[in-house]
């Protein structure tokens, strides 16, 4: 039994409740136990770091300090934005002890930051700490036939200096996880394009245009569904999809899953537990492809130039 400190973040209790609950299902199967940070607080999200540096660091730092009171060495975070704020704070505090001391002084009653807890997104944890082999071993109903476009968004792998995980421009970790589940990852060039993020509320048109392009590229790649690891990406691509369809005149009907939902599905958890009714775009059409006979799945080709590296003998 592995144990992991868990920071749920606000969306896990709201819009991305299906991420949170399927994550817990999946980790149970994988023999990982989550322990919530006691009395955790908001990460500050977009609002804090556009206002003041002090607040932007102090909010995540409080969570980091509280996390150190638990015995586990790693903190897993579901939401990409929470992950970003926490990881940025951790890296900057570790690099700059003077700054750490200054920020720490504002939350001194919670304790002293020591930098002993590592921060990982749940995607990174699944890929690096659990590993593809362990994931593959738990698959009871493989997702063969389902073609997915893995969409990482802007925060999970960037900036490289901070995240130190996967490629900042063309990540493959989620693609590999989906392949381990039996699904086929399509060649999708829009993996790290912006979905419009929190402009969803203040400037919906921008989101409709940016998310619309992502949907278009996913459809052109031949994907039945999009897979994400970020609550905001999910809500923009799923919730705005009917409006995007209306404006662009294109029909997409592409459901947007959290990768944990697909893991749970492949691990054989009953569909009722996967919160599919919470989706705006119906999932049944996409999921009906599972088990359908497919011509040889189109794998993402390894980078090759015009020539083969090996020599050949006639």
């Amino acid at each position: 039994m592995k144990k992991l400190t868990y920071f749920p973040g606000c969306s896990a209790h709201g819009t991305s409740e299906e991420f949170d609950s399927t994550l817990k299902l999946v980790l149970k199967t994988l023999d990982v136990e989550l322990e919530d940070i006691p009395d955790w607080n908001c990460c500050g999200a977009t609002s804090a770091h556009v206002m003041t540096e002090n607040l932007a660091y102090a909010l995540p730092l409080r969570n980091l300090v509280l996390a150190e009171k638990l015995p586990h060495t790693t903190m897993g975070i579901a939401c990409a934005s929470c992950y970003q704020r926490m990881k940025v704070t951790k890296v900057h505090m570790d690099e700059n002890p003077e700054l750490a001391a200054k920020i720490n002084s504002t939350i001194v009653e919670e304790g002293h930051y020591q930098g002993k807890v590592d921060v990982k997104s749940m995607l990174q944890y699944a890929y690096e700490d659990i590993g593809l082999e362990a994931i593959r071993s738990k698959v009871t109903s493989p997702l063969t036939g389902l073609k997915v476009a893995c969409y990482y968004g802007c925060l999970l792998t960037r900036p490289k200096k901070i995240t130190q995980f996967d490629s900042p421009e063309f990540p493959m970790s989620m693609d590999r996880i989906c392949e381990a589940l039996g699904a086929t990852a399509t060649e999708f060039d829009y993996k790290t394009e912006c979905c419009g993020a929190s402009f969803s509320i203040s400037n919906t048109e921008v989101v409709e245009s940016l998310s619309g392009k992502i949907l278009e590229m996913a459809q052109e790649s031949g994907a039945h569904a999009i897979v994400v690891a970020c609550p905001l990406c999910q809500s923009n691509l799923d919730m705005r999809q009917p409006d995007i369809e209306k404006k662009s005149g294109r029909k997409y009907g592409i459901p947007v899953f959290y990768f944990t939902q697909l893991m749970a599905l492949a691990f054989g958890h009953p569909r009722e537990k996967l919160k599919f009714p919470k989706h705006i775009v119906p999932v049944e059409g996409a999921l009906s492809n599972i088990g359908k006979a497919e011509p040889a799945p189109e794998k993402i080709k390894k980078p090759t130039k015009a020539v083969e590296a090996e020599s050949e003998v006639e």
Binding site: F170, E187, D189, K305, A306, V307, V313
Partner: protein
């Protein structure tokens, strides 16, 4: 008693703005031995030197201190001024109050002034103990080694050899020619690269004063200016060049296919091969790594078809030695690997190629007979996007410097594309157009007007695939909008980098290189072809990115330097070298181990006067000693003395502050 003259320089504003020069002069005047002290705006100028000469004569000075810039800059100038006034030039001391004080303490004039005073006091104290020294003459081997057989090495070798000085030209690949041999046409005149290069290559091979050693590497360089000894490893070619006629039967029959380096891997060569048809020497070599006979002992077809019997599978690498007097390093450049541009899909999309790959395609002797094609489907592209500054001027992904040649060769590529595919269209994404050079700006204008190349100022942020097209999304900063271009082919102008093995070469030659691996010149403006090590010179891109005209000019400059070095029968050498007092030497040989130049050997001397018993002592080869002082520092019995830096001189300096 010593009579010291002190000459303090303003260096225009360089020193005077940050150091109170008159105050320094007043301070040094207080020293008992200083009989004359004066300040002047430019001590290195002719009137400044005249002041020194006059003061020496009028004040009967016994030593001179010049407080000015680094001795690396003007020590020679001032020594000459001393000589002209009839004084031994080594009675000069330079107090470096510019690099060591005014330039580095610009924020604190008081402290800078005090430091300048200290430096002057030290120099005065040292100069009191200075002794007359006399230049040493060393013999010179009049033969030059040129490392690298690209256009830089070829030009340097030819120019030196034309002065009837023997040259050893070492090239690591099977043929000379370098990158220029891979080019189709050259900017801005569009003359054919091969046509202007191959005659020079043939001249090298046939020149009576050039010994061409292809397919070999320099292993070791020992000695000093005028007297170097180079070890060269001739890689086993498995072909006897003396009997081989270059008929080509072997490579036509060889069954092994290997990506062809000359064509950037766009087609295949055989395991026995000449790099290209115009190769010099035009003799094949066997690529041992891929040859099935050498790897597995099976095949042997080339030996069977070779009528003169030139194939020898048992050939071994051979190490040869050459005595030489000077070295020209011309190892050229590498190209940056654009893999970090993941947002462009480099490595995923076959139809993204580098500029040198494009160059090979449009070359008449290239893999596609001069027609550019898409690697994915072999179709001739209509819309081609050229992206400049791939790796250059991009600190986040690549390197901060400008590669200098990409603006011009990309311009050339738009013109060549237009020549080869008349209904094509070029789009060029650029940051700036750097076209400084004779006829360069006109050439860019020609591309924009005559061939209708569309120049878009801005960076490309993304390339994605749509059907069989590549969608190139970038900014057009001049209209302030994001633009998307549908491309059949994308060509990346990748940065020029230093050859990857430059650091290793620099270490074995004992010269320095910068953080990018380019070999360092002795002075960026006034000694651009010399290195800090006497007798070693730099030509071409190994020093910094440059185009062909500049490379050729630098190579010829190297040749002039080598000829100058060899003009006399001996070389003059500074007398600041170590000597061993054998009375004190205990023979511990610590000095032998620390000497970086191998200048110290052991010798046997009698134990005492008339004694028959012998003891070991250190002995210094004065031709090899560079006067670094390492032996002086390690010697426990204070038996070694470095002329110009004797213990009394150093102790005087320390005591003075």
């Amino acid at each position: 008693m010593a009579r010291v003259g002190v000459f303090v320089c303003f260096c225009g504003a360089n020193i005077a703005d940050y150091v109170d020069v008159p105050q320094v002069v007043e301070e040094v005047k207080k020293i008992r031995e200083v009989k004359y002290a004066v300040e002047y705006k430019y001590m290195c100028s002719d009137p400044g030197q005249q002041m020194i000469r006059d003061a020496i004569v009028n004040n009967r000075l016994t030593s001179v201190v010049v407080a000015a810039c680094s001795p690396r800059m003007h020590e020679k100038t001032f020594r000459k001024a001393l000589s002209d006034a009839g004084m031994n030039p080594y009675l000069l001391e330079v107090a470096n109050i510019r690099e060591h004080s005014s330039w580095v303490h610009q924020k604190d004039k008081k402290a800078a002034t005090e430091k300048a005073m200290d430096l002057c006091r030290m120099a005065v104290a040292k100069s009191i103990a200075n002794e007359q020294l006399f230049e040493i003459s060393v013999p010179v081997t009049k033969r030059a080694l040129v490392i690298g057989g690209g256009i830089a090495g070829i030009q340097a070798a030819l120019d030196i050899a034309d002065a009837r000085i023997p040259v050893v030209l070492v090239e690591k690949s099977p043929s000379i020619g370098g990158k220029m041999a891979q080019l189709d046409e050259t900017f801005p005149t569009l003359d054919c690269s091969q046509c202007i290069l191959t005659p020079k290559m043939v001249d090298v091979a046939s020149h009576p004063f050039i010994e061409l050693i292809p397919y070999s590497e320099v292993l070791e360089l020992q000695g000093f200016v005028g007297n170097y000894k180079a070890k060269i490893r001739k890689k086993a070619s498995y072909v006897n060049f003396k009997t081989c006629t270059g008929c080509g039967a072997c490579w036509q029959k060889c069954p092994v296919k290997v990506p062809n380096e000359y064509n950037m891997g766009l087609d295949k060569r055989r395991a026995i091969y000449t790099p290209f048809p115009q190769a010099v020497p035009n003799k094949p070599v066997i690529d041992a790594e891929h040859c099935t006979m050498l790897q597995k002992g099976k095949c042997g077809i080339c030996a069977k078809v070779c009528q003169p019997g030139a194939i020898d599978y048992t050939m071994q690498d051979e190490v040869i030695e050459r005595e030489i007097g000077a070295v020209v390093v011309a190892t050229g450049y590498d190209l940056w690997d654009p893999k970090p541009y993941e947002e462009y899909g480099v490595g995923r999309f076959k139809d993204i190629i580098t500029s040198l790959e494009f160059e090979r395609m449009v070359s008449a002797n290239g893999p596609t007979n001069g027609v550019p094609v898409r690697p994915s489907d072999g179709k001739v592209p209509k819309n081609v996007v050229f992206i400049k500054c791939i790796g250059s001027r991009d600190e986040a992904k690549g390197i901060e410097y400008c590669s200098k040649i990409c603006c011009m060769y990309t311009t050339k590529h738009t013109i060549l594309l237009h020549h080869k595919v008349h209904d094509s269209h070029s789009y060029v994404f650029y940051m700036d157009i750097r076209a400084a050079g004779k006829g360069y700006e006109e050439f860019v204008h020609k591309a924009q007007v005559d061939t209708h190349a569309t120049y878009l100022r801005g960076r490309v942020s993304k390339i994605y695939k749509k059907g069989d097209k590549l969608m190139v999304r970038g900014e057009d900063a001049q209209i302030g909008q994001v633009v998307e271009v549908e491309a059949d082919l994308v060509v990346l102008a990748t940065a020029v980098t230093s050859p990857h093995d430059n650091p290793e070469l620099a270490r074995l030659l004992g010269i320095s290189y910068d953080k990018h691996g380019f070999l360092s010149e002795a002075h960026p403006k006034l000694r651009p072809v010399e290195t800090a090590k006497a007798g070693i010179f730099l030509a071409g891109c190994t020093q910094a990115p440059k185009d062909i005209p500049e490379t050729v000019a630098q190579a010829s400059a190297c040749a002039a330097k080598v000829c100058g070095l060899f003009a006399g029968d001996t070389l003059k050498k500074d007398p600041m070298i170590s000597t061993v007092n054998t009375e004190f030497c205990s023979g511990c040989q610590n000095c032998v181990n620390v000497c970086p130049y191998g200048a110290i050997v052991t010798d046997e001397v009698p134990f005492g006067h008339g004694s028959k018993e012998m003891r070991t002592v250190a002995k210094i080869n004065e031709g090899v000693c560079q006067g670094c002082g390492s032996c002086v520092a390690i010697c426990r019995s204070m038996a070694i003395n470095l002329a110009g830096f004797t213990d009394p001189q150093i102790i005087n300096e320390i005591v003075s502050i």
